[in-house]
Symmetry: D2
Subunit: 305 residues, 4 copies
């Protein structure tokens, strides 16, 4: 195939831009076009379940409504999230926000009660509200359960919050399960521990595996869409080992492969472990997921019905 | 400022997408919005000259028409290019092409006369035509010059080729100078050496400095737009030392800073050398320039009347 | 300070090499010298507890004995590990190995039952032995516990295995606690779920927080040594929030910061969250931990009496 | 092969450490061991010429004596350098130095006349001496030449400076040619242009190709050792196209491949262009060359009698 040079004009649509990338077909243009086509095809295929993994600051970094909308539109069937992304969704659900354009050094930020994630900022006041509200929620869930699995726990939280922008609430309403194998390692986990000091309440670490394995077995095909790496990426891939691996996969990451960490590993490697099927359709997009995933989603939405 | 979450919908325009990134304002979204606004402002400001540097496979990677159009529209005033990007422009000007989707290992490619740049491919046949044609051009230029500076040499080449898609030709027509301090290190350079074996023809390495320094002195303000790093980035910044540095700068790169190489250096560092003015408006976009630069250009074009 | 140029000679010792890096003091040399000095000082200081986090393929990648020796020598006081590093320690404890120099594509590897981690390989046969043995261990632990915290669970495993090269066993003998908040996401977790299908056995996700917080409160000073990022890095830093943050920190990683993921975040950022104290001594070494950590350890051992 | 775990002890020698890396054989350990063995073998083989390319801040970053010693010991046969590394060698030859531990922001540095390269600093006073001295040298060379090639120009500079630590001087004494195709893009180039304003003195850009091609033709085998990427890497590889490519290659870099820039390209890609022979022995070490190259050199010196 010949590389067709991009033609960029005024007043382009995302759709026109994506077509240009597709016709170029090389380097980042090729990777993004590939991911967009694969996502669109997966959205259109009724037999395909889309698993979305969230590592890195996806929710504080501006993707809260993108994830919520994908759930609402039926384009995501299962989510595997870091604890942090759940915490930050709840911070906003309880009235808090994320902030930009605060230019202070980290020691001054500590004094001001401002936590930093790259150029995103959080405020201690918002976390205080979070703590107060999450304990009320724990108490309500504890009325029903002494031992609960992580997925069910998140589901129950989703039912108890009242913010239509929350992806946790939206997932609960839409029966899209959210798994978070490392939930304990975030502010929800810390507060849960404090709560459980004087309440009989146990979060079962392995309790979700039955539901997850059933979900995987009942999916004719799986496309995994992995934003960032870490535990969520690994859990997403590993859960599909039960059926011989995912059928298709998209990862968007800035991590690299040479140190051997899974976060930067090429998706091809998953084939060796039968976490991706032989012949599966796999693409790695190198870059910042908080801007490339929305671009890919916009492009994919334009390609369905 | 509060981070506003992105809202991605079907049938979005690039302009709407860019507004979303701008309102988010953090991580990659913030960086791309910043770069887009800065490029648009620079395009609109009659007092600002835009310097564009091209390192990495920008021309083989699909940006040939993007660069050509920016020149044609008066949005680029001066170009500093690697030799390779000039060579690849001429390969296409002489009828050759760049290719994708060739899946062979590098030893097989060698046997087939196919050169690889990541997932972009070139063919030996196209380079044979290139060699033949470039020697004819050398001979014509040699009729007029025994010693010639690199910029003037590229300008003369531009006048002698006949491909409206060529950015070298377009720059020549539009009197946009192209500098290439490392020109000798590409196929043009190799052929030039072969030509000069039996012709009296010298390319003066330092011969462009006078013109370049005059250009810098005569620019009220300079915005440098640097795609990739390398010699073109350094030369772009260093040429502005004469007037206390650039007024604004955008760089798009995947290189990182910790090893100290200029390619990955933050633009802030240029301030210490007076290659960027104190208070200059500088932004680094981390990612693949072959897809992010077109996106930024599309966004900027939408912002000018 | 003037940069002193390195002088490299035949028959150098690690100690001499490290002195050269220290006297240079810039770029990677400066970072490695800083990390080495900080690790040695932390080893020598009786008031300092050293927390070691293990993400990425540290155990399969050759550091199994390095970690074991640090525990045995009293140089590590607490470990936070990914589940995978624990699994790979057990695979070897049960007689399996990790392999190199297998040059097959990933689809062929799948057919051969060979899993790949970059250029490290595992064999299905070894995992079969692992499965058999780990179930025997589960059963023995289940005789004593119906509900168990993750740390206690790993400790009990350590008591039941018989391989002096195992860091899990060595940690158990030396009473060095190992935490693994994401334990469920590895082969141990998968087998545990299979085991718990027909046994009453619950792993408590939040059950370790009490012990961990006591450990942190009882540490006069903490130096965190973080290999790779991920959940282990986050948990290490977050556990120290209780006392205002770590006193010193070393991280070795190839991840970068611009996407906002914690794995690539500069340690300075931890100050804003009070996960690192104001004035804490923090250094990031950019590179492959599987080779730079052993170098730093070798240098640090030379600096203690 | 089984991965042998590293055993790190007190009082290790570099040689013992390297043996450990070699026996591990995976990830960074494997890459560094491979590079060390290849460099040692190349040093020992009388038929092999070693080409060394220098991009990034190798000389200001502490490798000045390492490069000088390799030349003196006959372990480097040809050098291809960025202009900057030559400039910084001369700055020190004229009495200047490079500095560390200056913690000011870049605007303050500009006011203080301090230029920054990551965490390396230079002083304006040292550059003033440089300017004065380099003009004296230009004048002396101009007495002998009106037109001069870049390599011969650097050689003549080497003969005229008086600092045994200078690699330029050492290379001149030892008849090791230094090429610098982008010489014009550094302070030597800037001063040369100023000098040539009122003197008849032309630097011939293509003038070195004859000598370089003869050198390549007369080398039975070539091992290219490439520190950083950029023009020096490309020129090193491209010059060997004349004989079908290098026989062996080592590159040490933090750049990555996905954007397609040559700096981050895998060496395998060079095979497609016949810049590396089929079957050539190629290894990429990912990391900071200013610390990994000295380590590799130390290891290689131990392996030659």
């Amino acid at each position: 195939m010949k590389v067709k040079h991009l033609e960029i004009t005024k007043n382009m649509s995302i759709s026109e831009f994506m077509n240009q990338l597709d016709e170029s077909g090389v380097l980042g243009a090729g990777r993004i076009a590939h991911a967009t086509n694969l996502l669109a095809d997966s959205m259109k295929d009724e037999d395909t379940k889309i698993f979305l993994s969230l590592a890195g600051p996806m929710i504080p970094g501006g993707l809260r409504k993108v994830v919520r909308d994908l759930i609402n539109q039926g384009h995501v069937d299962l989510i595997i999230s870091s604890g942090a992304n759940l915490t930050h969704d709840l911070v906003e659900a309880f009235g808090g926000r994320h902030y930009s354009d605060i230019h202070e050094n980290d020691e001054t930020l500590q004094d001001s009660g401002i936590g930093r994630i790259a150029d995103i900022y959080t405020k201690a006041d918002d976390f205080e509200v979070f703590e107060e509200e999450i304990h009320k929620i724990f108490a309500k869930i504890n009325e029903k359960y002494d031992v609960i699995s992580i997925q069910k726990f998140i589901y129950e939280i989703g039912l108890l919050i009242d913010d239509e922008n929350s992806f946790i609430r939206t997932a609960a309403k839409k029966n899209v399960p959210i798994f978070a194998p490392g939930l304990i390692d975030c502010m929800i986990g810390l507060q849960l521990w404090i709560y459980s000091q004087d309440h009989d309440f146990t979060l079962s670490a392995a309790g979700d595996m039955h539901y997850l394995s059933d979900f995987v077995y009942n999916s004719k095909k799986v496309t995994a869409c992995m934003l960032g790496g870490g535990l969520p990426k690994h859990y997403t891939l590993a859960s599909n080992i039960l059926t011989g691996g995912i059928d298709a996969g998209i990862q968007i990451t800035l991590d690299r492969s040479e140190g051997g960490s899974l976060s930067g590993a090429p998706l091809e490697e998953a084939k060796s472990w039968a976490k991706a099927k032989k012949g599966s359709n796999l693409v790695t997009v190198v870059g910042d997921a908080t801007v490339l995933f929305p671009l890919i989603v916009a492009g994919a939405l334009d390609k369905i019905e």
